[in-house]
């Protein structure tokens, strides 16, 4: 047996797997609960990239355009009725808030 083998055999025979015994749980209890600042930036970048991909590769522009056309038509239609711009604002704010909440939920599920 050469020197290299002798040392390897000696070291490998003493190599043991250390069982967890609650170590990982203790570590996770000490990990700061607040997300590091950069994770928010990373999340924002991820969502923006996903939106860009949706618009560019999945023909998102035409979908968006048709939505806008529908909204415009609806507005033009309701103009002839007793239309209150405040309703539209409330509708947009509520819709926007729901969309943001949904995106957040999806992001955390991933």
């Amino acid at each position: 047996m050469d020197d290299d083998q002798l040392i390897r055999q000696f070291m490998q025979a003493r190599r043991e797997d250390i069982s967890d015994n609650g170590f990982s749980d203790r570590v996770m209890r000490h990990i700061p609960f607040e997300r590091p600042f950069w994770t928010y930036i990373a999340s924002a970048l991820f969502i923006l990239t996903a939106l860009a991909a949706l618009l560019i590769w999945f023909d998102g522009w035409s979908v968006l355009c048709s939505i806008f056309v529908h909204i415009y038509t609806a507005i033009a239609y309701v103009k002839h009725m007793a239309f209150e711009p405040l309703y539209l604002l409330v509708f947009i704010a509520l819709g926007g808030w729901l969309a943001i909440e949904k995106i957040k939920q999806l992001a955390y599920r991933i």
Binding site: L6, R8, M11, D20, S24, W38, I110
Partner: protein, 181 residues
């Protein structure tokens, strides 16, 4: 989750601050990391576990700086090595690298030479200086390549090779003298 690759888990932890993904990484690497630190501290269980915990906390806060140039395990080992030396420097007001090495050696022998510890591996590794000990441990026990050891210890590959060669010589002499050869 257990079957996900390191890269996937790191991406989840980095992008979404996903603690469960990081927990999987901790469970995956706790054993080699604690074993490595045990060999640095001369078998001091409590100290190794404290240092391993600090290592994982640091890894969590610095996860964004992981560039995938080395494996996640190598990156963790580098943090652990730095955490260990930071601990040594915190013990006393240390001025030079020689002081650091002296302190590492004294800490190692304080535990490894304790009569209550019967581990022959720590007696054998005690024959080496701190750099030789780390190189030998990483090469022969953790199966790390020279390039990875250089990365962990932030030393040139040539220096790692000469530490390995000197360490090997001392270890062989010790093992043969003590009836292992």
């Amino acid at each position: 989750m257990a079957e996900l690759s390191d890269q996937m888990l790191i991406a989840r932890a980095t992008v979404f601050g996903n603690r469960r993904a990081f927990d999987t990484l901790v469970r995956r690497y706790q054993s080699p990391l604690r074993r490595f630190l045990m060999n640095l501290t001369g078998g001091d269980n409590t100290l190794s576990d404290d240092l391993a915990q600090d290592t994982f906390i640091k890894a969590w806060t610095q996860l964004a700086s992981f560039k995938n140039k080395s494996s996640f395990e190598t990156w963790l080992f580098r943090i652990a090595y730095n955490v260990f030396y930071d601990y040594i420097r915190s013990l006393k007001e240390i001025q030079s690298m020689e002081d650091v090495e002296r302190e590492v050696d004294s800490l190692y022998h304080e535990y490894a030479d304790d009569g209550s510890v019967k581990s022959d591996i720590h007696q054998a590794l005690g024959m080496l200086n701190p750099n030789e000990r780390t190189c030998i441990t990483l090469f022969y026990m953790e199966d790390r390549q020279i390039k990875e050891i250089a990365d962990i210890m932030q030393l040139p590959e040539g220096t790692v090779k000469s530490n390995l060669s000197r360490g090997k010589e001392k270890m062989t002499t010790y093992l043969k003298q003590n009836g292992y050869g």
